[in-house]
Amino acid sequence: MTRKQKRLSVIFGALAFLGAATSLTFYALGQKASYFYLPNELQAANLQPGQRIRLGGLIEKGTIVRGQGTDVAFGVTNAGSSVKVFYTGILPDLFREEQGVITEGSFEPDGTFKADSVLAKHDENYMPRELADSLKDKGVWQETTQ
């Protein structure tokens, strides 16, 4: 190989690598990014069972039901819509009725939402931003000032 050919092959290799990395990144973004929904948006969203989403809202009052062991079910609500969520595991410290919550998981074929992670707001003034925005838009949640 001449020097020029060598250099070309190196440049070509680097470009091929970058191309592969780029396509992998965008493939992964399409596959692995999960969309965020509020309960009242689910109707229009028309989700397939098994599709991963993040579901946010307020924990509906009086709906937290503890089952066997660490099973728990609760309603996530906003603007009059409500979705029942099933979860197994330890709930976050700040999981309380009428507090903001974000759950991540997917719908079962029977229409129930099975969450594999539950995030509550992390301190008393913090609300996940996408949740706060959506709730504020709909007038459900007011920003509290200290």
Binding site: A21, A28, T70, I90, E124
Partner: protein, 659 residues
Amino acid sequence: MVETGHFALVLALTLALVQSVVPLYGARVGDTRLMQIGGTAAVTGFALTLLSFAALTVAYAQSDFSVANVWENSHSAKPMLFKITGVWGNHEGSMLLWVLILNFFGALVAAFGANLPPTLRANVLAVQGWIGTAFLLFILATSNPFLRLSPAPFEGQDLNPILQDIGLAIHPPLLYLGYVGFSISFSFAVAALIEGRIDAAWARWVRPWTLAAWIFLTGGIAMGSYWAYYELGWGGFWFWDPVENASFMPWLAGTALLHSAIVMEKRSALKIWTLLLAIMTFSLSLLGTFLVRSGVLTSVHAFATDPSRGIFILCILIVFIGGSLALFAFRASSLTQGGIFQPISREGALVLNNLFLTTATATVLIGTLYPLLVEAISGDKISVGAPFFNLTFGAVMLPLLLVVPFGPLLAWKRGDAFAAAQRLMTAAGAALFAMICTMIIVDGETVLAAVGIGLAVWLIIGALTDLALKAGLGSVDANVLWRRLRGLPRSVFGTTLAHLGLGVTTLGLVGALSFQTEAILVMKPKQVVEVAGNTIRFEGLRPFRGPNFTEDQGIFTLLNEAAAPAAEIVSAKRFYPVRQMPTTEAGIKTLWFSQLYISLGDETGDGAAVVRIWYKPMVTLIWLGAVVMMAGGTASLMDRRLRVGAPARRKPGKTAAAT
């Protein structure tokens, strides 16, 4: 005292302004007096910022609630340690710490930079002055920690309990030392672009700063990860959270910079690329600061946020990144090219390293910013989480880990890959052996985990092989070997330790992720459970009162083979009344490199509680590996080579960055 601190901060701003303009002009016209003003202004500015920071610390220590910032974030009942760490446990104070560290580094350049060419020193200090001015303005305009309350309240509102932790007390200063340390590399790069030439010693001057920043950043990230691991009670150590990514991206880019700076120093090659990397690394640090401070991204680590601050930092970001890249585009062509090399060579390996690391940085950057982009374009809210990062980052990093041991074994300019491969036969054998052992001991199913273990062993043995070969293992007797080992440059040890640490961390990650055992159950008092061969008895709940919290402690006893108590593990749910906020205090028992991790859930009545127990094999290696990497960085920092470059006044002792 408080107002003295406030005044000192304003004075520091004026000095930063002078520092940004005067030495720059001095360097242009070649006036040494004007250039020297940069040095005195930097040192004085640092002293003033230190005074200011001390004043705020005193206000915290004395619970001076006439300072709004103290009132918002402290409480008289808080232990003294957390009163003091509370100084940077909030936005305003942490930005003051940021500037303090920035000015500290600036002062170090001024004080120990006597061996730098005067114009370079003047330009570097001027660029530091720009950064200092921008951030001091930011503090005084949007986040002033010295605002007063009159009449003063009598009790404060307490620090967010989750931040009242020794791990988080050390984490931000380390992280900032890292972030801000990269500002020096940035300033050197911009100064070189302003001058339009790169001195031969440029890489030698930049490398210690980059190394020091990298060491601190490594420590800061590891500390933050360990904090999240034990304080958040989820047992996870990395969440690919935007704030974590914000610190990880400069680390990846900084690691690339460290490696490309070696090529530049030894072979005067990759000059332009190294400059670009230095700019990118600090830009990513700024971006990280912006992401954390503005609250544009959802994060579990969020401080209270304020849009006006976000816009201010965004402006700083645009001016610095945009400005430096424009300067780069304008001036890069005037820089001279360096030595040439073959693709298969030490340089080639380092270029490969850079290619992989920058690509990895890019994937993290895209994953972090993509939600912002999508929301801006379509209004959809999406989240990019661990599945994305594991796939893309993992795919890029795996091949890099495979080739790491080759790098140090290749010769400069033209290497022999085949010879290197032959020398690595031992490492390959050890890796294969580890893989087979894993498959036999655990089971045949865990192929991926076995490959991971093999990779870790490959890295560790590969790193040691390099050291052994350089010492002459196999060709000389033990005495000579020892003497030669001691005579090796420190940087050789640095390389070995850093690569070894990488292997150790990999081993910890594979162990904790693939082999952890988890049990979630409701435990009644005296109930016994076995998790991965460890017998644990739940003794019951007991209330406990701390200085500013109350907690329900779950007492667990680890039983040995004779069913006798071997250790007590206390896991608690803590409640901070001032903020009306509960936190989880996980109970952790370290068994060699593995850990038992017990997290307490809700009480279910009659003394029973939901309990989550993990056995995480080799988990501590994740952070121990980081410590080994830091040791490697320190060893490399102490290499005598980095102390060279002074024509006349040579400072005795270590380099400035080692302090």
